[in-house]
């Protein structure tokens, strides 16, 4: 099951690498991510999948990183146009052609 998390990173060298590395080492795959600059540091939105792994535990492990200001689980996909959004958009077009839909949206 996919979980969505939002990590507020301090403006520190290696903060992003450290956080992504931890997510992967703890048995999760990052399936989608977006990084944006904010007033103090960066905000990382990411979707993660970890079969049989506990997402709440992952957020606690991320939260203890010194580079992390705070971490939250997002209720829904944070993407303005995620995979499902893309599919809906394509479906709403007049003459949709499946070949025009990105492969991941067809799954």
């Amino acid at each position: 099951m996919t979980a969505h998390i939002e990590v507020h990173l301090k403006p520190a060298e290696g903060a992003l690498l450290r956080t992504l590395g931890l997510i992967q080492r703890r048995g999760f795959s990052v399936t989608e991510m977006r990084l944006e600059s904010v007033e103090f540091g960066q905000r990382l939105h990411c979707s993660v999948v970890g079969d049989g792994r506990c997402v709440d535990l992952l957020t606690r492990q991320i939260g203890r990183l010194h580079d992390v200001e705070r971490v939250e689980r997002a209720a829904a996909e944070p993407w303005p146009l995620g995979v499902h959004g893309m599919a809906a958009m394509v479906a709403s077009q007049a003459t949709p052609s499946m070949s025009a839909v990105p492969a991941e949206a067809r799954r």
Binding site: E13, G14, L17, R18, G21, R25, C54, L57, R60, Q61, G63, R64, L65, H66, D67
Partner: protein, 571 residues
Amino acid sequence: MNSATTTARRPSKRTTHRGADLFVRCLRELGVDVVFGYPGGAIMPIYDALPQSGITHILTRHEQGAALAADGYARASNRVGVCMATSGPGATNLVTGLANSMLDSVPVVAITGQVPNALMGTDAFQEVDVFGMTLPVVKHSYIIRRAEDIPFVLAEAFHLAREGRPGPVLIDVPKDVTVVEVPPSLTLPHFPPRPATAVPAVMQAGQLMAGARRPLFYLGGGIELAACEGHIRELVDQTGFPFVATLKGLGAVPTDHPQAMGMLGMHGHQAANLAVQESDLLIVAGARFDDRATGKLDEFAPHARVVHLDGDAAEIGKLRRADIGLAGDLGSNLQALSAAWQSLPAPSIEPWLQRCRELRQRHAWRYDAPGEFIYAPALLKTLSERGHDRLTIACDVGQHQMWVAQHCRFRRPRTHLTSGGLGTMGYGLPAGMGAKLACPEETVVVVSGDGSIMMNIQELATLNRYRIDVRIVLLDNSSLGMVRQWQELFFAGNYSEIDLSDNPDFAALARVFGLQARSIDRRDQVEDAIDWLLDEPGPSLLHVRIDPRANVWPLVAPGCNNADMMEGDAR
């Protein structure tokens, strides 16, 4: 002789205050008195500033020795251990030591030289991305990009190494940062410790304890790290509950305490493992349900509810669900739990205490092994008794490590230094060296094996150079004993690459390095040899030949229930 040659040979007299001077001054102001390290190109400016600093530098013979010595220094003293090395191979040689400190939550600050900022990313000579390479094995890390950041980075690094769950912190220092001039007015910031408070769920934990019929404390290394052994001893005495300890929890409460059941786990005491399996409440303090302690997790303590106290919130519920999780300052929570306990009616647990006494009696260690060879458990018991509780024992990794845990007595915290998480062969000698420098009044004994000692044998030269009074007991079974034991039991006796029968003459080797040494191979030599080892000033080495077929018992096979313990012949 031309003037250029003359200039090159003349010692330069520095009048400026460079980044390196600031760096070393900050170390001193942070209370650093000993640094373990090895110099090289990129870190030379810091070494140039060291001699005037008042800091004692211990030149190890390998950077891994420096990292593990810093770990031993930190464990024995509860202060931050410091090691340093140059860029490239110097830095990579520190990595095993950092991983060792990370897995056992030891406060260490590692300083690495780095090529200048402008050369980073160009594959320069001795350039390696040690910051990236060590991300999984440090609590935090820095690259100092500007000399004026030195005081902040150092102060924060030392704070982070100790704060909360301790761990290693790496500081990578590009060379240009250390040679630029800096204003002498730069000062260290202060990082106050976080206020320690107890969590409200303590009362619920107390109620579970008051309602339990077969309660058991499960004590881990977090108690020593938090230096809250006084609080746990008080709680153990108040409640009268029996307790088990993990490998790293030994000594938090004296191992010969009347309520002690022994070490749990793969090579734990049978009484301890059975008590855990029968308990209805585990009060877990500073432990993390490591697989070597729990055996098959699904069948671990099947009847027990769990109260889990830990300094690290991410450990609560990681492997075993906690009915009550008390995250935060361990000492404060133990104190509050003690107060809650006193306000509640004590449970009637006499049948359980009787059962625990029976388990202890039935499974008491025996030292009457047949045969001619020296019996290692009996020798270690004798060593421990003759040490009269003034020993700090630093172990290596293997069979001897388990025998020390089983048969030596630990009445004081921070006197059993062992590589529990990473299982680093080669840990014992440098760790013992660090411990002796941290606590000169202690008698430090390294217990090693013939496999492990060779992993950092070069540090005998460090012992001799500084005449560090470490006594070494080398248990020699001419093989990689723990691997051999597993091949015997789980790989149908297919002995693969475990033979060390061509070992050097260890006593002669130690003498070449400048140590005193003796070698024994008969039981009637043991007492005299141990008296010699403990009474004569060191550094010294006692080489003990033991039965190559000796195994560590009991043993819970990997992936099995802790109640299913294998037993075999004592040799």
